[in-house]
Amino acid sequence: MKYPGLLLLLLPVYSSAQQTLSVQPQWRGNLLETGRFYPGPQSGDSLRIDVLRFYLGVLPSGEAINHSYHLIDLAHPESMHIPLKPEMAQTPFTLLLGVDSMTQMDGAGGGALDPTQGMYWTWQSGYIHLKLEGILHKAEGRNIPFSYHIGGFEGKDNTLQRIPADQSGILKPRLDILFRKLDPALLPEVMSPGTKAVMISRAWKDCFSSEP
């Protein structure tokens, strides 16, 4: 290849000059807080997020460094800061929302992927990429619990998503973007792979976009 460097520019590369990757979930530009109600999808509704857990995969380019998975949990602030290995400081890498299909088929994983983390389905194969649970409070006073366990790694049910390039070392997923596209009053539960899970995984990916 005449200009191999050009290939790198074309990849969704995350520069890792920093030693830590931080995740700061947001709601309309402010840090997301558990226990707090935010404006819901419909006028007058409000919404509270009780559980936000998701897998973040760090995939360095080059075969010398193994990729790693991290379980981000809103209830555990320490999980929001991912220390990067020193050898990765100068290595470009991409990020995944979820667990890739090769890893899914590797058998029992350890650490963040240990099934004791509660992020592996017991009734079927596959890691749950995203757990999002909370309450929608309707204007007329009704409370609607919502629960989304998003996963699936086979064929058109694959919910694995790549995150767009970023240079800041800080990821700011905007949950308000997801709930613009998802009304818990109309769809309170998604607990298995399928078209609904794929739709939510795409909306979840959009939360990481820098576009308003």
Partner: protein, 342 residues
Amino acid sequence: MSRRHRIILVFTLLSAFASYQNYDLSIPAHFPPLHYNLKKNPLSEETVQLGRLLFYDPILSADSSISCASCHSSYNGFAHTDHKLSHGIHDLVGTRNAPALCNLGWQPLFMWDGAHRHLDMQALAPISHPREMGFSIAGVVQRLEENTHYRQHFYRAFADSNVSGERVLKALAQFQLTLISADSKYDKMLRGQARFSEQEARGYQLFRKHCNACHAEPLFSNYQLNANGLPPDALLNDTGRMGITGKAADRYRFKTPSLRNLSYTFPYMHDGRFQTLSAVMQHYSEGVSATSSPGTALPGPLKLSSTEKVDLVSFLLTLNDSAFVFNRKHAYPMELRTYWKK
């Protein structure tokens, strides 16, 4: 460090390395390549033994009453003989017949509906099912962490005493990988160590003509999901694979079971509805229903004569492997008895 100490250290390291890589699975020569990737979970005597203890220990269930072996006993070919449907904690009855276990390293799918795709992860299903063990892998790990006896076994198996879900599942998988059945009369015939009787030989020809497409030799299953023309049980209303995928095309599709050790594993079918092989023959000969949409491999009833049915059963009995069923290395570990007495 003195020379003597160095020698002791090197010897210890070499011994440790040898002990963690030393289990010979003895793959039968007439079997296809193993499906399970042993590189991801290299077998050792210590880990196999830990897996065996876990397999037989009711510590895996919520009320410590049900072990894996409760429904998969070695002397029943690792099935739940004489039980149509198995019962779990608090005598709760499940919805399916406990499948016989053997040659699991060759299986790409587990459970009657193929719900799990990896042997490591399959154990999560019975551990968590409210009608089986009614527990959680996190609960199992916590119990084992508090158990000195098991901590010692984890130390021997993994070189430190830490307990994790990954280790529990991999140890269980290692023991189950050793459950290789390849010493039946059929296997001996292939190895030139036995000869079929005339009736068995006739049955073998019939088998190859009518059954081998799904119950493929030498494992006697293609481990795919198929409908076999079995009318659905109105009470159980089990839709099979459709319960996992939600797709109408998967209605009444179940994983093809292996036919090894049938004398030990009755009753038959996913709901245990047939007590005898004669009843199974009757189904395939006359009872194949269009309701459960069998595929092209079984376009309709086989219309077998009485002689053909007997010949077929005669062949199927050559798949019994008593050496496997009564292998002491697979049986209840007496160590567990001593440990529970404490």
